[in-house]
């Protein structure tokens, strides 16, 4: 069974925006889309470690603020001609709260 950790209220993250969550293994970027979906991925672009939480969110993608790599929030896969992948962490919203998968946070290293 998945154990969920309550991180914050949904409105703490702006629509089409992101905030950072610090973990022992590095930072996660928690995104909220225009449709109020929430995704958590590693906050480091596979290209030059750009902070993805600072990128522009469009649809279910984020564009890295350093060199415009586009990364899927759902799969963590880099889009288009570039190649790479970031780690994704299960996240969901319940009663207006953002929940992250705790097993993921404790057992799996985020680069």
């Amino acid at each position: 069974m998945t154990d969920w950790i309550d991180i914050a209220a949904l409105e703490d993250v702006p629509q089409r925006g992101a905030r950072v969550v610090k973990t022992r293994f590095g930072c996660l970027a928690v995104f909220r889309t225009a449709e109020d979906e929430v995704y958590a991925i590693e906050n480091s672009c596979p290209h030059k470690k750009g902070p993805l939480a600072e990128g522009i969110v469009h649809g279910k993608f984020v564009t890295c603020p350093l060199h415009n790599w586009v990364i899927s929030l759902e799969t963590g896969l880099v889009q288009g001609a570039d190649e790479g992948e970031v780690i994704t962490c299960p996240a969901r919203v319940e009663d207006g709260r953002i929940l992250l998968d705790s097993t993921f946070l404790t057992e799996r290293a985020v680069a």
């Binding site: 950790i5 991180i7 914050a8 703490d12 993250v13 702006p14 629509q15 089409r16 925006g17 905030r19 950072v20 969550v21 610090k22 973990t23 022992r24 293994f25 930072c27 928690v30 225009a34 449709e35 109020d36 979906e37 929430v38 995704y39 030059k48 470690k49 750009g50 902070p51 600072e54 990128g55 522009i56 969110v57 469009h58 649809g59 993608f61 564009t63 603020p65 350093l66 415009n68 586009v70 759902e74 969901r92 919203v93 953002i98 705790s102 946070l105 404790t106």
Partner: protein, 812 residues
């Protein structure tokens, strides 16, 4: 005969009685209480009654004959005072006791009245029953009467449309950002707003009410949070309903948000049932008619001893305003793993969006053409696997095969009076006429109408008009669209924003036929700039459509830290400012302190979470953001001028400071660098800036279009003026002209190459009236944007902190 008492003669209990009499005719002795002095009528048809499209008589469901034929004892206009469940009697207001074997609650709901000061004034009403409707019709009968409707939901808009149809001036005040925010997404909300505005209904979204103002006990106006007063003779509150559970609560039934019922519609008392808007089933409450009818069916079955279960189903919504065709169903927000299919047809004002999850349709919103609504609703309810029809799904059930979307649809949709060429005031109709008269290419159109013959930014649109009119006879030159979200170029979109008065991103997406639901990192920053430059008062800057540097008001560095550059007006600083900068550099362990090329100091390597506090410290010393990160005014570099220099001809430092103070905060298509040199020796290197001023004995030489980056360019003289005041005005005017016409990310020199220096001179040098108009528009924009973002952001430091720190928890 079994005795049934029903409390409330609404649509749900009415339907339940119909089913009951069908199944067991003559088996029940029914007493029907109703607080309203009448029987069951079709409440959802009140809107057509209000608008005058129907009469009350036409919407009566059960008349006196029906009740008599089924032996129902009607106690209309009578409230129930209490229920004694131990003795199984209902006690009426006049003390009468009516015994029951089974009791059915259908107490419905009450409109929610916001407890604003003044809510009890005469003329403040809800929109719920026939009395409210008659009251509205009565007020609308007074010539010149005005109405305000609070609430832009289904009911509020139906009320507004009805009142408008009766000739009232109507204003809708809605708290959320778009109309019917529960049922529609932003794009459909935009189209709905447009349709209602076209009917003369004023719509104010994102608007908070403060109080209701009265005179002699009667409503006079609504006062908004910002102090605006909207005069009205009638104020309708349509902000939602609350289940009416008072009686149920008082007689001890289990009540949460509403009366708890099980799948058989039985309450916590096995002899008491409930149906309609007053019930809560599995945590949900109900406001639309479809589930109420399902419940009514189950009530009748339960009463007759048959087994049936109420199952919650997806619901769909349609607005009952003639001419506003909208449909929404299912869930089109929230949730992972969902995909969108979007279709827009600007010509017909059509928007359709289907939300798909696991190859099933889970939600649908449509506006303008809802003929396929029920088909999609069916797919949602049945959970149909749509993998095989996915490609053509959005076109509906009738679609076989297909042709690609028409990229010219947006231009084809423009009316004949839509302005295409802003410079020469040429409308689409004139171009069409010129084509009919024999002009079949761009050159011909330019020669006959002057369209696109000046600044040329409308060239793309003119070509599209040619293509739409001539069809295959016209070959479109290849042009570069903004990004994959659209087929239009920057210039096309800018013209559309201006001529069609598009003041929101949702409006641009719809009217220009965007192929994505919310754009991308390429188009959104450009649109954000165009909208705020063209509509400074109407459009609200969207930080989420800005590149990180402009969103966080600092320059991101390659390691994810930021650089902080306070303004030094005209390159002048003081010992106090330098001390404050030194203190900040030490306090926040700034690794690198560098003097920039723009005559100021850069603190490099500041951590994101320290930004608000370092800004606060610098603010305390009187310094503000230097906008070193912006597509906007950067610096005005100066030499020391007449103050100290033996060659100086004018006060170049003073002019530089004045220019920086008047221009700072303005957003431009790309960065904007200025310099003022005090004499032609040009120590401030003014002739390689975007705008340069070289002072001479007789005045000021203002030149534009320099560059010293990837391209190196010398400026070209725009004009020489005699006074400092004139110099400042001309610079403001040319900056505004650049803001209004250039493509996003074009520096002035690139823009000048496209439109030509002559054209710019015509706008801001030769025609003084036009220059003043540019200055006026610049100042209007600056009234919003000339501010220190650091001071604003330093007030909300929490936005810059991590959302959570799990480093400790993770270690456990």
């Amino acid at each position: 005969m079994k005795k049934l008492v029903v409390i409330g003669a609404g649509m749900a209990t009415g339907r339940a009685l119909e089913h009951l009499f069908e199944t067991e005719p003559g088996a029940w002795d029914v007493t029907l209480f109703n607080a309203e002095p009448r029987g069951n009528y079709n409440r959802i048809m009140l809107s057509p009654v209000l608008s005058g499209e129907k009469t009350y008589e036409e919407i009566v469901t059960h008349d006196a004959d029906w009740y008599e034929a089924h032996g129902v004892t009607c106690r209309f206009g009578e409230k129930v005072a209490s229920v004694d469940r131990d003795r199984k009697v209902v006690i009426a207001e006049n003390g009468d006791e009516v015994a029951y074997d089974k009791l059915l609650f259908g107490t419905g709901s009450n409109p929610f009245i916001i407890p604003l000061p003044g809510h009890d004034l005469d003329g403040v009403i809800a929109y719920r029953d026939l009395e409210d409707t008659y009251r509205m019709m009565e007020t609308a009968g007074t010539p010149g009467a005005k109405a305000v409707v609070i609430g832009g939901g289904l009911l509020g808009l139906e009320a507004a449309a009805g009142l408008r149809m009766r000739g009232m001036e109507v204003c809708v005040v809605h708290l959320m950002g778009h109309l019917m925010d529960r049922q529609l997404d932003e794009a459909a909300g935009y189209l709905l707003r447009k349709a209602l505005t076209d009917r003369g209904i004023e719509i104010r979204c994102s608007t908070n009410s403060k109080q209701i103002l009265g005179e002699n006990g009667k409503v006079r106006a609504l006062e908004l949070d910002d102090g605006t007063e909207i005069p009205c003779d009638l104020l309708v509150m349509a902000v939602g309903i609350r289940p009416n559970v008072k009686l149920a609560q008082e007689c001890g039934l289990a009540v949460g948000r509403a009366i708890h019922v099980d799948d058989q519609m039985v309450t916590s008392d096995p002899d008491v049932l409930a149906v309609g808007e007053c019930v809560e089933h599995n945590g949900a409450i109900f406001g639309l008619v479809a589930p109420l009818y399902d419940q009514a069916k189950v009530v009748a079955k339960t009463l007759t001893g048959e087994h049936d279960s109420f199952v919650q189903r997806e619901v769909s919504t349609k607005l009952k305003v003639t001419g506003c065709d909208l449909f929404s169903a299912g869930d089109f927000a929230d949730g992972e793993g969902r995909e969108d299919i979007v279709f827009r047809d600007p010509a017909r004002g059509v928007y359709k969006r289907i939300v798909i999850e696991d190859n099933k349709v889970v939600g649908a919103v449509m506006y303008g053409d809802t003929s396929d609504g029920n088909w999609f609703f069916g797919l949602i309810k049945d959970g149909t696997d749509i993998a095989d029809m996915r490609e053509n799904l959005i076109f509906g059930p009738a679609f076989q095969g297909g042709t690609p979307l028409d990229p010219l649809a947006a231009v084809a949709a423009l009316p004949r009076d839509a302005e295409i060429c802003g410079c020469n005031g040429v409308c689409k109709g004139q171009i069409e006429d010129a084509i009919a008269a024999g002009a079949t290419d761009l050159g011909g159109i330019r020669a006959t109408t002057k369209a696109s013959a000046s600044c040329g930014t409308c060239t793309g649109l003119v070509e599209q008009v040619l293509a739409v009119t001539l069809g295959d006879d016209f070959v479109m030159p290849a042009s570069q669209s903004i990004c994959a979200c659209t087929d239009m170029t920057h210039e096309d979109v800018r013209r559309m924003i201006k001529s069609q008065k598009l003041t929101s991103m949702a409006a641009v997406f719809q009217e220009c036929g965007w192929k994505t639901s919310c754009g991308c990192h390429v188009c959104r920053p450009a649109l954000n700039f165009y909208l705020l430059a063209d509509w400074p008062l109407e459009y609200q800057d969207d930080p989420q459509s800005r590149f990180i540097n402009e969103r966080k008001h600092a320059n991101i560095q390659k390691d994810g830290t930021f650089s902080v550059v306070p303004r030094m007006w005209g390159g002048i600083t003081t010992p106090q400012e330098l001390r404050a900068i030194a203190d900040a550099a030490e306090k926040y362990s700034v690794p690198t302190v560098k003097v920039t090329g723009g005559q100021r100091i850069d603190l490099l390597g500041v951590k994101g979470e320290d930004l608000p506090s370092i800004w606060y410290d610098l603010n305390q010393a009187g310094m503000v953001s230097g906008y070193a990160y912006s597509k906007g005014l950067r610096t005005v570099k100066t030499c020391v001028g007449t103050d100290h220099c033996r060659f100086g001809t004018q006060d170049s430092t003073g002019l530089g400071i004045k220019l920086e103070k008047t221009l700072h905060g303005s957003w431009t298509p790309h960065k904007l660098k200025l310099a003022v040199s005090g004499c032609p020796r040009n120590c401030a290197e003014a002739t390689c800036k975007d705008i340069g001023v070289v002072c001479v004995d007789s005045g000021y030489q203002i030149s534009i279009g320099g560059a010293a980056g990837m391209d190196v360019r010398e400026t070209t003289l725009l004009a020489q003026v005699a006074t400092e005041e004139e110099a400042i005005d001309l610079i403001k005017a040319v900056t505004q002209c650049y803001r209004e016409h250039a493509k996003y990310l074009d520096r002035i020199y690139k823009w000048m190459d496209k439109v030509g220096l002559d054209w710019i001179q015509d706008q801001v040098v030769n025609d003084l009236e036009s220059r003043q108009a540019h200055v006026y528009r610049f100042e209007l924009s600056q009234s919003i944007y000339r501010k220190d973002p650091w001071a604003e952001h330093a007030k909300k430091p929490e936005k810059y902190q991590p959302l959570a720190d799990l480093t400790l928890e993770a270690a456990e």
